[in-house]
């Protein structure tokens, strides 16, 4: 298992290198100029040229890339071209809210969608199955920002059960944290609830047809034991895959939720950085995201071995 883990990590190195090269070139070759964004709309070409010179943007691309890579390898992600703040510091401030949002959204997803999917499979073809499927179609189809506005309109503006916007870290108290993160977490979770519920239902339906399930019922086991101890465990692998990749997608797809609920997270940071052509920030976040995908995929693979004892890694 350990050697498998190490081999997978080593294989990630060329992946990360090509991601770095790709994002570096894409940014430099795309239209737009960070010097212009610093100076504002009314800057003259002369002023822009002076800034570009100072920022080293006129140096050959290869030199810029080599410099950047060697800095990365020594842990220096550079400073924002726009605000002059260390990129690591900026990401550090924004990572917490995004991770918190993604974790809460994923917990809500699992807590809501897995039982729904099991229920739908158990009562396959009945009204409850159709209701769960209809619900998941709605959640999948309605954009997150629409769901967000509806949740805000009903629960924050009308009922005043939740605040309309904002974020409090966990250090401010669990109650305050949950009070602010619940609605955005629910909005973000909506599409994944749909996805995981359907996956759970499909996976369960396959497993419930198996002989060992019939045997378990024939032995007189309680239905909940049949469902959750025997069937769900065997149905878990595809569900885990969807949950895992969904979590990675959440981290990279939170920007709409962060904007609607005014959460100062990574999603907004990267959108702002893209619009401002803040190269160091964009590059660092893309690398971080790519690294997150690599690690999460690895953890998913390792989790298979935990759920299915037949799977062993050499």
């Amino acid at each position: 298992m350990v050697s498998y883990f190490l081999r997978r990590l080593l294989a990630a190195v060329p992946v990360m290198f090509f991601v770095a090269l790709f994002v570096f070139l894409l940014l430099r070759l795309a239209p737009g100029d960070p010097a212009q964004m610093i100076l504002g709309d009314q800057a003259t070409p002369e002023q822009i040229a002076a800034i570009r010179e100072h920022l080293g943007l006129n140096r050959p691309l290869m030199l810029q890339f080599v410099q950047w890579m060697s800095n990365i390898l020594s842990g220096d992600f550079g400073d924002s071209l726009i605000s002059n703040r260390p990129v690591i510091e900026m990401i550090g401030h924004r990572l917490g809210p995004t991770v918190a949002l993604a974790v809460v959204a994923m917990l809500l997803t699992v807590v809501i969608s897995v039982p729904l999917g099991v229920l739908a499979a158990w009562r396959h073809g009945k009204l409850i199955d159709k209701a769960v499927m209809a619900f998941s179609v709605v959640c999948f189809s309605v954009p997150i920002f629409v769901i967000g506005y509806i949740l805000i309109g009903v629960f924050a503006v009308e009922l005043r059960w939740f605040p309309v916007q904002g974020y409090r870290p966990l250090s401010a108290g669990f109650g305050q944290f949950m009070h602010r993160i619940f609605l955005p977490g629910l909005a973000l979770a909506s599409i994944y609830i749909a996805l995981v519920a359907r996956m759970t239902r499909a996976s369960m339906l396959e497993v419930l047809r198996e002989d060992y399930v019939r045997t378990a019922r024939a032995k007189g086991l309680a239905e909940y034991l049949v469902l959750f101890r025997h069937a769900l465990r065997n149905a878990a692998i595809p569900i885990l895959t969807v949950v895992g990749t969904g979590f990675a997608m959440m981290i990279s797809g939170v920007v709409v939720t962060e904007t609607v609920f005014n959460i100062p997270g990574l999603g907004r940071l990267v959108v702002d950085a893209v619009l401002a052509r803040d190269y160091p920030v964009i590059q660092a976040i893309i690398l971080l995201t790519a690294g997150t995908y690599v690690v999460i995929n690895l953890l998913i693979d390792l989790s298979y071995a935990l759920t299915d004892p037949r799977i062993r890694y050499q």
Binding site: P31, D41, E46, S83, R85, V164, T259, P264
Partner: protein, 526 residues
Amino acid sequence: MKQFDFGRMSVLALVAGALHAPLAAETVLNVVPPASVRVLDPIMSTAQIVHTHGFMVFDTLLGMDADFRPQPQMADYKVSDDNMVYTLTLRDGLLWHDGSPVTAEDCVASLQRWGVNDGAGRVMMQHVESIEAVSDKELVITLAKPFGHVLELLAKPSPVPAFMMPKRLAETQAGQQVSEMIGSGPFKFLENEFRPGDQAVYAKNEDYVPRSEPSSWTAGGKVVNVDKVVMKSMPDMQTALNALQAGDVDLVEQVTIDLLPLLEMNPDIEVGNLVTLGYQITGQFNHRLPPFDDPKVRRAAMLALDQELFLQTAVGNADYYQTCPSVYGCTVPLASDAGAEYLEGTPQERMVKAQAALKESGYDGTPVLMMQPTDMAILNTQPIVAAERLRVAGFTVNVVPMDWGALQARKDTWVPVAEGGWNMFFTYWGVPGIWNPLVNPLIDGSGQDKVWAGWRVNPRVEELRTDYLVALDTETQQKIATEIQQIAWDEGFYYNGGEFSSVSAWNTGITDLSEGPLMLFWNIRK
């Protein structure tokens, strides 16, 4: 004994309670600005949000009052009889935020830095022989040749105001932002609470000594009545308005006009114009590429386009826009009716004239590439509206969507369209950036590569702009400005798409808000 002990204990408890009683709660003004604070150096950037930030942290030698007159601010001034020597004397009590006194040397270095980074400042410096600190509190600007706008430029609120900073910061290398936010303004910048793109926090500068005169725009006393101002970025306007109505924020500086009816129903919210000078929509022609290298074609385009239509589609509510021919802004002293004939008649009547003018010009059907910034709400619609009007007039138009960053980079090139060039795009300018021939880059007729996009060429306008530099009396300035404006319309320098205002909204608990050329945070009470 028990009674005595109880009494003593009670007194002790009361005293202990008083000693540990919480101080009066801090007054925090929560504001949603129109853009995030990211760039902090107010001398480097031409963006208005940076100058709003600048006026909180920094101060200027002179301020500008609501009548557009320069007034003493950090310094009082004397002008020699021949208007060639300006003596500025710093008033007492001026301290930098690090506690060191403001000196004339700091101001000299600050003016030199400003003179490199501001367009009008650069023009002024070409007329200056020397700027010297003659004592700790006195500096002297000596002109080499006549220049009639020294005081006005030292006082102007935009695009780059002449902010004062410590000499060590003012000597920052060209092209580099200052490393610290140390000014002498009425607020201190809280570095450790700054989150670029999320929030910027300012605390009242307890050491600031305001002037005794009543405040008027950036002149007069800047009295701060709140302990902190938090500028909280909210990119989604609906979220910002929800936050305002829920009491999470106190003021939204720039409200999208189509959402105003939601606020107008709320008795706890007020709306109004705090930034009293508006914004002019401008359609820029590329004078270096066909078809707009021909003034006859440009004139035809000017006749086809329609201010009222632009403003209706961009703003929608006539209470918040106005049409006028002034290239300097509708309500500034130099505004005039020169060029009004291009706005006369109904849109249909002008379209007939446009079609005839285009035919007469011999326009050969060269397509017009119109850049459309899709991520700027106020500029998203003009290209579409303009393209349609131009097509009816007989032009061939291709609208090319892109984000603002791509447009900004592309606008500075004059390569052929097929190689990445452009023919027309729309933007908007704050009136303080265009209010006279000295600061207005849109009427620069030099045609030089280094000027703002468009590259207009007109020797007569350049003569007039040179005359304006030395004109001291308002009558002469007005005459020059009017003639320039007429030429700008006749030669199709750019299309003046009319002026719109910025509308702010605030909780009724906020009072004493100041009007100004940009958002100002002194005087406000909560």
